[in-house]
């Protein structure tokens, strides 16, 4: 899908008048399991790490945390390589396929066509038709096939052309994928990754604008993660493939063309951790996927108005990283959740419940959750725009919460 680009590595896909500079938006924390550099030593980055790109970008919006981990070096602008999010996913996928011959991909049009969003481009030519398998159109069945293959020793990645199509695979995902490890008494593992683009796009119509994370979040036995930047896309893809549990990786249709510089060295992120996007003092804003960018744009406005929001990209939708979230809540005492799910039964609803249960005493105000309305996504552009939470709404919600 076409996304609007502005400048180098610009990020926002929503309105022509925005003038975001990704320099200020992208401040991913480098929390990873391990990274080995070219000399072979292992670097472990902690969550409050200094932004490694900080040296090359303008800093007026950031209040970087002063804690730096030992052994960390500030890389120059030349190291690492720039790529788009779908390329980052591709890179992560290819590295894992290279590393482990059991990793295989199946889905519609993933082989010769290279995938509808080009995430599997070139892989069929390199690894053959069997490892990058084009399937007929039967989502429930090829997900079932993936489960059978996983139980027999492969590590399949099932691609839903659009997450919404995975509604057809709900039976296999819920009754088998999430369950068979448990009901077999631990005898059979299902190290499958189910991924695909979802979320509200650009006038794709209601059926292609589904937010499946809210439907899947109850299923016991699966893990869910949502990527939002090329850096975390690659890291989460690799982590998901290496995980022994079934993992659903949510990508967003409008984020595929985000550009970022990512490290050359290999890295794998943790599936259960949230990402500190912007540390702050006044309010905790929890978000994920595309809404991260709306939040960061609102953050720009908020900072100009004198607020200091802490923005956390929760990344792990199931289970929630209550440690990071909790630390933040204990610091700021106010929570705003910004999500793209529908209001009823969405990720925000569960997150609100989890925070209230665990951190009630630390809250100075009720948790506010901004979500999409409980309506199917309309096609008309203007209507569609208003079903998605906009930065202006985020700004006014923060102002209200911080009164």
């Amino acid at each position: 899908m076409a996304t609007l680009f502005q400048g180098v590595g610009a990020v926002t896909p929503f309105s022509a008048s925005s003038s975001l500079d990704s320099n200020k938006l992208l401040l991913p924390s480098r929390k990873s399991l391990s990274i080995s550099d070219s000399r072979g030593s292992i670097f472990v980055y902690r969550s409050d790490a200094l932004n490694l790109k900080a040296a090359t970008r303008k800093q007026d919006l950031l209040i970087p945390n002063a804690v730096a981990t030992k052994g960390e070096t500030s890389t120059s602008a030349k190291s690492g390589h720039e790529l788009l999010l779908f390329e980052a996913l591709h890179e992560g996928l290819e590295e894992e396929m290279e590393r482990d011959p059991r990793v295989c991909v199946m889905g519609e049009d993933v082989g010769h066509y290279g995938g509808s969003y080009k995430v599997t481009k070139g892989l069929a030519e390199k690894y053959g038709d069997l490892r990058v398998l084009d399937t007929p159109i039967a989502e429930n069945s090829f997900t079932g096939m993936g489960i059978g293959a996983a139980m027999t020793g492969l590590r399949p990645i099932v691609e839903g052309m659009n997450m919404g199509f995975l509604l057809l695979a709900f039976n296999q995902i819920s009754n088998n994928c999430g369950m068979l490890h448990y009901t077999s008494g631990g005898q059979f593992t299902i190290p499958i990754v189910i991924r695909g683009p979802g979320g509200v796009g650009r006038q794709l119509g209601a059926e292609h604008s589904q937010r499946l994370e809210s439907y899947f979040q109850s299923i016991p036995g699966i893990q869910m993660v949502a990527c939002s930047t090329p850096y975390n896309a690659k890291g989460l893809m690799k982590a998901a493939i290496r995980s022994e549990n079934p993992v659903i990786l949510f990508e967003h249709v409008l984020l595929y063309n985000l550009k970022e510089r990512i490290p050359d060295e290999e890295y794998v992120l943790s599936l259960e951790e949230a990402e500190m996007v912007r540390p702050g003092e006044h309010i905790t804003i929890l978000t994920y996927s595309r809404m991260r960018y709306h939040v960061m744009q609102a953050a720009k406005t908020l900072v100009n108005k004198g607020y200091d929001p802490e923005v956390i990209d929760i990344r792990s939708l199931k289970p929630f990283d209550l440690y990071t979230i909790g630390c933040s809540v204990k610091k700021t005492h106010r929570v705003l959740i910004v999500e793209e799910c529908m209001r009823t039964g969405g990720i925000g609803a569960s997150l609100t419940a989890a925070i209230t249960e665990n951190f009630h005493d630390y809250l100075d105000a009720p948790i506010v959750c901004l979500s999409s309305q409980d309506v199917p996504t309309p096609y008309a552009g203007t209507l569609e725009e208003w079903t998605v939470v906009q930065p202006a709404q985020i700004v006014s919600a923060v102002e209200q919460l911080c009164q």
């Binding site: 079932g144 489960i147 139980m151 009901t183 077999s184 008494g185 549990n245």
Partner: protein, 444 residues
């Protein structure tokens, strides 16, 4: 390959040839093995390759008559059998089984029969909560397993404990599963009869109908990638063949050339739905061809026919890398499960007739007795010994304690996350506080 509409119309009436073609792939150029028309008297043959029109998927012959393919053929697909109702071989062209294998097959069939009877009774006595018998389908269960090797992976529906027995799963282990005690492989998480054992290459039964069929295709894909000398086999009933997963799985297996055997136990009933309400095709075997899958219809109550067919299918599946569909015609003598009383929807005398006159166990017994491999004494010894074993197994299993509380929360993930550990602690605390509200035989 694409020709515009006007040219198509121009040539439409003139195209009358019948190439014998090998299956074409969309990605490979067209090949014709021959361009000789099959019925030269009926058509004028035009022989000019440049005027050939074909569609994606290959060339087709055009005919000026509008001919609908009938919904049914005049003859039903015939059914392969080796032994007649009296256990006499009909011909000599079948694969012989040795005395050892035959006696083992027979013993397992009897074991299955007695196991079912006793566990059914146990459920009726309230000792287990649920059971489903395989009465009438013993030949399918055992003979199919006997024709496979230990490396072939099995994806059952729920009426196929036979292959587990064949592969050495003990009656005691069966009892443990049915009683959901701590020695159950499944750690007490599934209903009775939902066996699973990775040691025996038998995948855990899931209650969902036909979901295992695509799993088997995925496993076959995995075996093919690893170039193993093994296939996967999946069982399902006539009812299961209506599920979407069945159709897509057959389609996939054919497209992917996966070494999988689809074994349909067409036993006439899906709970109370007879096959006439399940499909209007000639059973399940004709569906194979629709997906490009080689198929055969077999007498499901003839152990030797099943043995022969499955063995041949396995050979084809592995060496030719193709799926095979076997429809085994049989009858579900028992009720669907202990929650069903089938006399409500079918005549009791029909059930009795199939139980007695068409019993696959008795039929096979006649064959082995005629070969001098079995006799009455062996029979009564076997049956008595099995009864004792089963009653003992049930008694033992009944008295073993249930799995510990931790097993509610383990294996949901590889490592329990913090929220599950919290929930587990909460349950344990509640049990400590209110011990009288909880059963005694769980350990906290």
């Amino acid at each position: 390959m694409w020709i515009s509409k006007t040219i198509f119309n121009h040539f439409k009436s003139r195209l009358n040839f019948t190439p014998n073609y090998a299956p074409l792939s969309l990605l490979s150029p067209r090949r014709f093995a021959s361009t000789i028309a099959q019925n030269p008297s009926t058509f004028n043959s035009i022989h000019d390759a440049n005027q050939v029109i074909d569609f994606p998927g290959g060339t087709v012959k055009f005919i000026p008559e509008m001919r609908f393919i009938s919904e049914s053929s005049p003859q039903r697909i015939p059914c392969y059998r080796v032994l007649d109702d009296d256990g006499q071989p009909l011909a000599n062209n079948f694969v012989q089984v040795s005395e050892e294998v035959a006696v083992r097959m027979y013993s397992n069939m009897v074991t299955l029969q007695i196991m079912d009877t006793i566990f059914y009774e146990a459920q009726r006595q309230g000792r287990i909560s649920f059971y489903a018998t395989t009465i009438g389908e013993e030949a399918i269960n055992i003979a199919s397993a006997a024709a496979l090797t230990r490396d072939d992976v099995i994806f059952p529906q729920y009426r196929e404990p036979g292959p587990l027995l064949w592969r050495g799963f003990t009656l005691q282990e069966i009892a443990h599963q049915c009683f959901s005690n701590k020695y159950d492989n499944g750690k007490g998480r599934q209903m009775p009869i939902h066996y699973g054992s990775n040691k025996h290459n038998y995948f855990t039964v899931a209650s969902t109908v036909a979901t295992q069929v695509p799993h088997a295709v995925g496993a076959a894909y995995s075996l093919k990638m690893d170039k193993k000398d093994a296939c996967s086999i999946t069982y399902f009933g006539d009812g299961g063949s209506s599920e979407g997963d069945f159709h897509a799985a057959l389609n996939f297996a054919a497209v992917m050339e996966a070494p999988v055997i689809f074994l349909c136990r067409n036993n006439g009933w899906a709970i109370s739905t007879p096959t006439s309400d399940q499909f209007r095709s000639d059973g399940v075997v004709v569906k194979g061809q629709a997906y490009g899958v080689r198929s055969i219809r077999v007498d499901g109550n003839d152990a030797l026919a099943i043995y022969n067919a499955v063995q041949a299918a396995r050979e084809m599946a592995i060496s030719e890398e193709r799926p095979v569909l076997i429809e085994a015609l049989t009858y579900r003598v028992g009720h669907h499960s202990t929650s069903d009383d089938s006399t409500k929807y079918r005549p009791a005398n029909e059930i009795e007739w199939w139980r007695l006159a068409r019993d696959p166990v008795a039929r096979f017994r006649k064959w082995i007795e005629r070969n001098g491999w079995w006799n009455d004494m062996a029979e009564s010894e076997l049956r008595n010994s099995l009864r004792q074993q089963l009653l003992h197994s049930i008694q033992v299993a009944e008295n073993i304690e249930k799995p510990p509380i931790e097993d509610i929360f383990n294996d949901v993930y590889d490592v329990p996350p913090s929220n599950l550990r919290e929930q587990e602690q909460w349950v344990k605390d509640t049990i400590k506080k209110h011990p009288l509200d909880y059963p005694e035989n769980i350990s906290a």
